[in-house]
Amino acid sequence: MKKPVYLDNHATTPMDPRVLEAMLPYFTKMFGNAASRNHSFGWEAEEAVEKARKQIADLIGANPKEIIFTSGATESNNLAIKGVAEMYAEKGNHIITAATEHKAILDTCKKLEKEGCRVTYLPLKADGLIDLDMLREAITDKTILVTIMYANNEIGVIQPVAEIGAICKERGVLFHSDGVQAVGKIPVNVITDKIDLLSITGHKIYGPKGVGALYVRRKGPRVQLTAQMDGGGHERGMRSGTLNVPGIVGLGEACAICQKEMTAESARHRQMRDWLKNKLEAELDETFINGSMEHRLPHNLNMSFAYVEGESLLMGINDIAVSSGSACTSATLEPSYVLKALGVGDDLAHTSIRFGIGRFNTQEELEYTAKRMIEVVRKLRDLSPLYEMAKEGIDLSKVQWAAH
């Protein structure tokens, strides 16, 4: 077994060697510009791009013409939200999203608020799911867009996307979903889910970084976007810039592999994840699962280990790469806003660890991870005044802390 063990597959995934294989010729031999219409270099690049477009479309039940290439999901999210807000400004200025969205959604919405849009941030239920009745009530005649992620990057909770899509359709509101964590991992279908815009990125599905796509519905309704970058009018005028041909080939191949292997892979990941969860729960007391276990990506586990601060836990398992919702591990020095939105107290948020299982993880790696986690949690609890107090029967919520 090679160390360190990588179990942070929600942050990014290693590239599948088959993807790299597919990309390589397009860096050197077949380097053409896909927009060059009058020679074979351009044609072969264009052919590769169109093949990738179809591979991506096939994975999500779309038509290849509905796929717009971008530099990744941050750009896809920005283009979808800003593009709709600008294009449909005459129709309305109200956007609905949720508190647990990725920053690429939330910060885009905040920017639009400064520019005169009104944004509703739906609260979440304790299990991380949105309340569909609240969504229904939030929609007004000024609402132009609902943007709700397919699955969350921290807690892996899968939203009732098909229901959201149906509500939006019924009310004549466009529906965008950040599909980054779900596409390629669980079945996503823009027709049955009634999604109008869907963001995808390469590096979460064993493809390259810096390349992504935005699905833009062409029929029923035909969605229009105002381009956010001016230039040569590539990608049906929605996203200018010479196409990243090797990256796009990689994204396409990554999608094709996911489509082929998803059923078997997700079953394998679910089994590994459940094993890890059961092992940790059997060996350690006072662990808490964050978010719904039922509506969750098969490869995600987000668990709080009460009375043990997350950063110190990561330090103890330093040959295992996972992430924590602890403030100490975030740039803002605030505990995870996702856990906060679920009503998880800051005390438990500081003790949370996210495990993300990926294509190249083995059961042996999980067994090693469980063993190390159990050792380190026990060691740190022996060091924890909170654990000691809890064991003495003191109710920590009633203690007057000398907060600083």
Binding site: S312, C328, D382, L383, P385, E388, L396, H404
Partner: protein
């Protein structure tokens, strides 16, 4: 974040972990921080009432590696010092000894606060003890 060797050493081999009888008149207990803030330190010291020298010190800390290291180091420094000398320990001494980066300075502040809180608890017990001794006469 990269940790200094000294932080790693204290994290891997914390000194003086444990608890003392907080009801003993010779033991001062300081508990600072809050679970919501991600760090809580409990620092205890046992003073020889005749010499005023700290004979033993123990800690338990919930917090990041730097918080654990700061309190572990504090217990090492406390032993053998008089109460007055202990009050002179500054958070900056801890920062320098452990090479803490700016984002971790609050850990050293917390350790200094814990020392002060433990000493003030000890002093309060002593004065109450004396007052009781006086009224007993």
């Amino acid at each position: 974040m990269a940790y200094s060797d000294k932080v790693l050493d204290h994290y891997n081999n914390p000194r003086n972990v444990g608890s003392m009888d907080k009801n003993s008149p010779n033991v001062g207990t300081g508990m600072v921080g809050a679970p919501e803030c991600g760090d809580v330190m409990k620092l205890q010291l046992m003073v020889n009432p005749d010499s005023g020298v700290i004979e033993d010190a123990k800690f338990k800390t919930f917090g990041c590696g730097s918080a654990i290291a700061s309190s572990s180091l504090a217990t090492e420094w406390l032993k053998g010092k008089t109460v007055d000398q202990a009050l002179e320990i500054k958070n900056t001494d801890i920062v320098n000894e452990l090479s803490l980066p700016p984002v971790k300075i609050h850990c050293s502040v917390l350790a200094e606060d814990a020392i002060k809180a433990a000493i003030s608890d000890y002093k309060q017990k002593q004065s109450v003890g004396q007052a009781e001794a006086v009224t007993a006469h």
